[in-house]
């Protein structure tokens, strides 16, 4: 018990970084994902081609590789003008990666909105952005919520990948304690903290889904 209390502060410090990366990744990649999703459903071929390539690249390579590439690879080009701090590099890679996944989910949601909804908005003289904001987005959000929820849970676990670029997240904190004190307890605690975090997320996501169940 005493040992647990002793290592808990460092674990919680790691958990704080994990949550920060989680939070800012969502803040960046959810709106971007919606915008890229809109681009993927546009009729402008060159834009569509570029965005499809981007999504293919991000989903077709490991996030770990992207992380290493952004932090260790980018500084090697152009005399290091692309050098990023560890934390910024992590956020950059995560937002880039998760935007692609969210964009694909939003694309599916957008395509399931009947054409008639756009047409009735049009004859009611709503502008394109008014239609997107007031008609399309609320319906898409309801449709995509379960899939987004999946990715959100994945993100909290994926955030542990930042240890490769030397950031002190939750997993790293546990790892350090385990190898220093030669005991399994820190790793078990790390597991428990992840479980608690995903349990809270699952609960919040359920709430959201219930919030959107007032219409069919």
């Amino acid at each position: 018990m005493h040992y647990i209390l002793q290592i808990l502060p460092s674990l919680l410090g790691g958990a704080k970084l994990t949550l920060e990366i989680f939070f800012w990744t969502l803040v960046g990649s959810l709106p971007l994902g919606l915008i890229v999703g809109l681009g993927l459903t546009s009729h402008f071929k060159p834009l569509k081609a570029i965005l499809h390539f981007y999504v293919w690249l991000m989903r077709g390579t490991p996030l770990l590789l992207q992380l290493i590439f952004v932090f260790y690879g980018l500084p090697l080009i152009g005399n290091g003008i692309f050098t990023l701090q560890r934390y910024d590099a992590a956020l950059f890679a995560f937002i880039l990666n998760y935007t692609a996944y969210f964009a694909e989910i939003f694309r599916g949601g957008l395509q399931s909105i009947p054409k008639g909804q756009y047409e009735s908005a049009k004859v009611l003289r709503l502008s394109y952005w008014q239609t997107i904001r007031k008609i399309v987005t609320p319906q898409v959000v309801k449709i995509v919520l379960p899939s987004i929820g999946n990715e959100v849970i994945n993100l909290i676990k994926d955030s542990s990948l930042v240890y490769v670029i030397g950031l002190g997240d939750l997993l790293r904190a546990g790892n350090v304690a385990t190898s220093r004190d030669v005991t399994l307890i820190p790793l078990v605690l790390v597991g428990i903290i992840y479980l608690l975090l995903t349990a809270v997320l699952t609960f919040v996501l359920r709430k959201f889904e219930r919030h959107y169940s007032y219409w069919k």
């Binding site: 009947p114 008639g116 909804q117 047409e119 009735s120 908005a121 049009k122 004859v123 009611l124 003289r125 709503l126 502008s127 008014q130 007031k134 008609i135 609320p138 319906q139 309801k142 007032y214 219409w215 069919k216």
Partner: protein, 211 residues
């Protein structure tokens, strides 16, 4: 008065109709009838700006009019779709007030007052706070009519307003259409129901499939 002059439309070299001429007097009811595939829906979609014409011209009160650019003029055309296309995530009242607030810049209060009057006129007052999925087909249709009317259109178009309704409700729609005629609204009704057309039309126009 709405005037269609020498209008033509084809899809991928298949002519839907060619060199059509048609005039509709203000406050009258025009019924467009004809067999399936004759291009009735397509004509309605062109008039309401959802499709573009290949050739010809549309005039409202003698002025050339491009329905695909509704922001250039306020000669509004309202549409009641065959499947209504209500917004499922909005309450009945919000379905009606949304466009007047966003497109006509009415205040929330003003839009709500207008909507409540329309709901009353269409015997829907008790449905204001329901969602579309909670309504019957006939009620949905009346909400769609109210929603279109809230934009104060000069012309209101219906695509097959009786096709999805029980026979008993046909007379209810007829009553509403005739009542709106009294109020001076020009109406275009697409239908393949000749009997219905005969009962309401001031003018009928027949569209038959082209060879």
């Amino acid at each position: 008065m709405l005037e269609l002059k020498n209008i033509s439309k084809s899809f991928n070299q298949r002519t839907v109709w060619h060199d059509l001429n048609l005039k509709i007097e203000d406050g009258k009811i025009l019924c467009i009838v004809g067999q399936s595939g004759g291009g009735k829906t397509t004509l309605l979609r062109c008039i309401s700006g959802l499709e573009t014409l290949d050739a010809g011209e549309m005039l409202i009160d003698g002025q050339s009019f491009n329905p695909t650019a509704p922001h250039e003029n306020d000669a509004v055309i309202g549409v009641v779709f065959q499947d209504y296309q209500l917004f499922p995530h909005l309450k009945v009242i919000d379905n009606i007030t949304l466009a007047p607030e966003l497109a006509l810049k009415q205040s929330a209060k003003q839009a709500k007052q207008t909507a409540e009057k329309l709901l009353e006129r269409l015997s829907l007052s008790d449905k204001a706070d329901l969602y579309p999925y909670q309504l019957s087909g006939g009620q949905k249709q009346r909400v769609a009519i109210a929603r279109a009317l809230a934009m104060k259109p000069k012309i209101l178009c219906y695509d097959e307003p009786t096709s999805a309704l029980d026979p008993g409700l046909r007379d209810a729609v007829k009553k509403i259409i005739l009542q709106l005629k009294q109020a001076g609204i020009t109406q275009i009704v697409v239908t393949h129901d000749w009997e219905f057309a005969r009962q309401i039309a001031d003018q009928t126009f027949k569209l038959e499939p082209q060879q």
